[in-house]
């Protein structure tokens, strides 16, 4: 039975590729249906090929406005969470201080909590304080849940750093500020970049926490959620496809640049 043997040896590969297909199938559907011309309000059934949506991506009322709000929130949440998170990571790795355990669990807990619990409790706080729900409450919430992920990413990098490099810089008469800017920061940069990228992705795509704390502000995920009830415009698929392509493009270029650098070093 040569075929059975062939199958047996490649069973893992076949199963793995099937899982990969399962992961990518929705993206393929999103892309194909961005060229659809649906008959009714919903874009769930294939009708006819059309590039109308790609030519007019902002042709739906309010969609590009919500996209711009999402981008603004994602940028500011990334900036805020990255700065605060990097500071915490340096304190955790470089210094001994009291209440270390409490700080560690305060950072771990938001990652181990279902989103809906954080969303609901934050809403009770805002309601009790009488805060006006909107852009600022969304931003506050996003910085809160991105913070832990930045700390995890930066901590891993700073921990693996050789402390003798900084001592060497100090031995060569670099001041503390100079040492930090010229030695510490460049070495920690990949960890900080990873944390920032993760924050951006998490904030941009967040729905549950945003939905609770947004008031009447509409972010892009909330627009998609609303359109699932009212009718899904093809433009949603255009944005989804474009985001996927931009992400793949960025990752590929960063990999090519990284490979070149490694070759130069070798």
């Amino acid at each position: 039975m040569p075929f059975v043997n062939w199958l047996k040896r490649r069973l893992v590969v076949i199963a793995g590729l099937l899982t990969l297909a399962y992961l990518l199938l929705p993206n393929i559907v999103v892309t194909v249906f961005s060229f659809n011309q649906p008959k009714g309000r919903f874009n769930y059934e294939w009708q006819q090929f059309s590039t109308a949506a790609w030519k007019d991506p902002c042709g739906v009322a309010d969609m590009c406005g919500s996209l711009s709000i999402s981008l603004q929130i994602a940028v500011w949440a990334t900036v805020g969470a990255t700065i605060l998170g990097t500071m915490i990571s340096f304190a955790l790795v470089r210094y001994r201080f009291r209440a270390r355990g409490a700080v560690n669990s305060l950072i771990f807990l938001p990652m181990a909590m279902p989103e809906v619990v954080m969303a609901a409790s934050l809403l009770t706080l805002f309601l009790n304080m009488g805060a006006q729900l909107g852009f600022w409450t969304i931003l506050i919430a996003h910085i809160m849940f991105c913070l832990s992920f930045v700390v995890t990413a930066v901590k891993a990098r700073v921990m693996s750093m050789d402390p003798r490099l900084e001592e060497a810089a100090r031995d060569l008469y670099a001041g503390p500020v100079q040492t930090f800017l010229r030695v510490t920061l460049p070495i920690a940069a990949p960890g900080i970049a990873a944390g920032a990228l993760l924050s951006f992705a998490l904030s941009f795509d967040d729905f549950i926490i945003t939905n609770f704390n947004a008031g009447s502000t509409v972010t892009f995920p909330m627009f998609v959620w609303g359109s699932a009830q009212r009718g899904t415009p093809v433009q949603i698929n255009v944005i989804g496809t474009a985001m996927f392509l931009v992400a793949v493009f960025f990752v590929l270029t960063s990999m090519v640049v990284g490979n070149r650098r490694n070759k130069h070093k070798a």
């Binding site: 199963a15 793995g16 590729l17 899982t19 990969l20 992961l23 929705p26 993206n27 559907v29 999103v30 249906f33 605060l84 998170g85 500071m87 915490i88 340096f90 304190a91 210094y95 201080f97 305060l106 181990a112 909590m113 279902p114 809906v116 619990v117 954080m118 609901a120 409790s121 934050l122 009770t124 706080l125 309601l127 009790n128 506050i140 809160m144 913070l147 100090r170 008469y173 941009f204 795509d205 729905f207 549950i208 609770f212 892009f220 995920p221 998609v224 959620w225 699932a228 899904t232 949603i236 698929n237 989804g240 496809t241 985001m243 996927f244 992400a247 793949v248 990752v251 590929l252 990999m255």
Partner: protein
């Protein structure tokens, strides 16, 4: 280079105390921690306190709420919504098991068998993250549509008869059934399973596989006795990263399910945002939090990987 030509600054007089010179202020770590930790205390920990307090309040939107230590809210909430709680646990557990079964081969493939395709497959696992998960979840409505290819195939193979009999689907359709919700949950949280699995598989020394082979272990025995036990940290963190968000999710149940597949997340969302019954919503959310924390603690203890956290 300039530092070498510059004259060194005059040496400071030898200090008698043995303080390490690099650690300047004793308060530096606290200043570094202060803003971030304050943020987490005010916007993560304090809300939990407010939520606990809201859950034992009574009153109405018009007249305001007062703390009356009305614990009956908890019993009423549990008595009314225990089916949704159970359903959430079942769906999340089913999705977690499916993620493990589907994710393990792919993580194994990336770690050991992908060769030069490794980076490309890795990108293909992560890249879907960047398309809004709501758009991707809506795509399942097309894939599982009543007159679509998937449902037709399953029907002609009589698979749906079997799942109908098991109660997973109803009336020859997949959408608006438990199967669709579990399928969506599995899809959404699969990368959270694959990445930790891959990380722990990649750390395994390839020579251990060779050694197992030299000792006449068959491939399956090698997997059972060597590979799988060594990948346990990945299995534990992967199952946690899948189960916790899946148990609190309400997006899949709302978009792919029906009123019969409502999970506890749907109830909390409706109570909070539509019915505006804050005490009940806060109590439900508090029970969910306590249940998840208890389950996670128990699970981590049982699997003996406390250093994971």
């Amino acid at each position: 280079m300039s530092t070498l030509t510059e004259a060194p600054p005059p040496l400071a007089p030898a200090a008698p105390e043995k303080k390490p010179p690099r650690r300047r202020g004793r308060f530096t770590p606290y200043w570094l921690l202060l803003p971030g930790i304050l943020w987490l205390i005010v916007f993560f920990a304090l809300p939990m306190v407010y939520q606990a307090s809201t859950s034992v309040q009574q009153g109405s939107l018009e007249e305001g709420y007062k703390v009356t230590w009305h614990f009956a809210t908890y019993w009423d909430a549990l008595a009314e919504y225990w089916p949704q709680f159970l359903r959430s646990v079942f769906y999340a557990a089913a999705a977690t098991v499916l993620c493990l079964l589907l994710g393990y081969p792919l993580a194994y493939l990336i770690a050991f068998r992908a060769g030069r395709w490794k980076n490309l497959i890795m990108i293909l696992v992560i890249a879907p993250f960047f398309t809004s998960f709501l758009i991707r979840t809506l795509a399942w409505k097309t894939i599982l549509a009543d007159n679509g290819v998937v449902v037709h195939t399953l029907n002609s193979l009589h698979v749906l008869d079997l799942t109908d009999w098991l109660g997973w689907t109803a009336g020859d359709r997949v959408l608006a059934t438990p199967l669709a919700v579990v399928c969506g949950l599995t899809y959404n949280f699969l990368p959270f399973m694959i990445l930790p699995l891959y990380t722990s598989l990649e750390r395994i020394d390839g020579r251990l596989h060779e050694a197992a082979g030299d000792l006449y272990a068959r491939p399956w025995t090698t997997f059972r006795k060597v590979t799988f036990p060594l990948s346990m940290p990945g299995v534990v963190s992967g199952t946690l990263l899948t189960f916790i968000p899946a148990a609190g999710d309400y997006v899949n149940a709302e978009l792919l399910g029906s009123t019969d597949t409502r999970m506890i997340g749907n109830v909390i969302q409706t109570q909070f945002l539509r019915i505006l019954d804050y005490p009940t919503a806060a109590a439900l959310s508090f029970i969910l939090m306590a249940a998840i924390l208890a389950m996670v603690t128990f699970y981590i203890r049982r699997s003996g990987t406390e250093d994971l956290v």
